[in-house]
Amino acid sequence: MMDLELLQVLLLKCLFAFLMVSVVMSMAGYSVLAERKVSAWMQGRVGPNRTVLPLVGYVPLIGPLLRGLGMFQPLADGLKFLFKEEIVPGHVNKIYYYLAPLVALVPALTTMTVLPFGEFVDSTGNKIPLILANLDVGVLFIFAVSSLGVYGIVLAGWSSNSKYPFLGGIRSSAQMISYELAMGLSLLPVFLWTSEPGSMVSSLSLVQIANAQDSSAWLVLVQPLSALIFLIALFAETNRLPFDMPESETDLVGGFHTEYGSFKFGIFFVAEYAHIVIGSAIFTLIFLGGWHFLPWINDPWPTSWIGTLLGTGWFLAKTVFLIFFFIWIRWTLPRFRYDQVMSLGWTKLLPLSLANLVFYVILITWLDQSALNT
């Protein structure tokens, strides 16, 4: 017979996982809405404001407000993808064609398991991070898994057996490889900085990085160049404008998802936005102090479950701002040319991140030495 306690833990884990997935997925859905709304506002338009649900939509005041903000739109969009006719072109490689959307979505959803989003202080004063799986190599895990997402795009491009998706897939893989390097190198100074001076332990855990910014400077202030390089690489990794090479509607029709329709296209779409949500969360954790209040200020909230909720809310607020920033950039900058993307990645960002690393290695060594000598 199964241990009752084990069963309980298992059930709880499943519940937490379900909650996490639903939160991230609905955030992805609503970032699609945010994208449409913000783009509309920036272009002097109104954006989606017609969709309405019966009952909720007709409540006075709240109903028209929600309708005007398009709050029911993601539901309609999702259902539209679900009920569309499933068309598979005759010239595709069936197995990979069906596999590609899954390969694109799964890494996006997997990375959220190691994403801390808050902290709970229990009665004995222990700080328990709110996280599905507290890996001490969290960042490595995220890098390893999220770069698998490119396989979805490459597979889609290859299996579609047509020129535009193929070009999109090729471009995407080249871009991902180029920016992965700069991204990894830009984070190394962060790990050096957050490891305790003099101690033998250093950690790649996201919880530890977030906690290192508790009532001290946010890392974006300590290492602005790392943050900048990481942000640029993040834009490239999530295929957002100005780096949306795999899609680039104007020159590649739809890019890698040209041959996809109905729900399979919907999965690609959701995966893209899930990547953005998770990317924003990671940037918040590493450079914007996670769930901690402002730089150099102690968290003002009490050490109870209320404080936990407030901290998590603060973390979400930062993440949402970053998602807005992603959208904001998209509607401000035009797309790079393909060779510009490549030269920016290899000849600018990579040397810059190396120089950044060397600079911080010297700086941190000097700081640590002087701390040890006194």
Partner: protein
């Protein structure tokens, strides 16, 4: 010949070469756009303001006495570039007191809205000022037949417009005074 001045282009400064200040300026522009007034019209609920001289759907109008103005001279039919107008001329019965000034009136007046190009030549050429392109711009139908406007439809769309000349009243007055020409 105008003298060509070649402007010397200054080399970009370091901050300009990173493009970051320029990107920030761009971000400011788009952010300020967020709060600007929207230019979109919520169409079926709000209608656009039709400017004067707008050329909408061609219509037939009646004079302020409620009489048919068209005398089926067929000039519009001849001038119509896409041949959208077809007139079947008819006679005005002798005993019609109110219309004794004219001899003819259209039996049917068809404007094929699938052909019409809204050029307004018909309005321009009409000696009786009987055909006008008015403010109506939205028309739709389920088949070709439905989009051919016949006489009744054209008068319904046109209504009555104020007359500036009262051509026939003047002519009648002149006739009564004995100097018709």
């Amino acid at each position: 010949m105008a003298k060509t001045v070649v402007l010397e282009r200054k080399p970009l400064s370091l901050s300009e070469r990173t493009y970051l200040p320029q990107i920030v300026t761009g971000l400011k522009t788009t952010f300020s756009n967020l709060f600007k007034e929207k230019v979109t019209l919520q169409y079926p609920e709000e209608k656009p303001v039709i400017p004067q001289g707008y050329r909408g759907v061609p219509t037939l109008v009646k004079d302020p006495n409620g009489r048919e103005k068209c005398v089926s001279c067929q000039l519009c039919e001849f001038v119509c570039p896409p041949k959208a107008i077809r007139i079947t001329p008819g006679e005005v019965p002798e005993e019609d007191e109110s219309r004794e000034h004219v001899e003819k009136a259209p039996e049917d007046f068809e404007i094929n809205m699938l052909r019409c190009i809204y050029c307004g030549y018909c309005q321009e050429v009409c000696p009786e000022e009987a055909i006008f392109l008015q403010n109506e711009y939205s028309l739709s139908g389920y088949d070709r037949e439905e989009l051919i406007n016949h006489k009744e439809k054209l008068y319904e769309l046109g209504g009555t417009l104020p007359d500036q000349h009262y051509k026939w009243d003047k002519k009648r007055k002149a006739e009564l005074e004995g100097n018709s020409h």
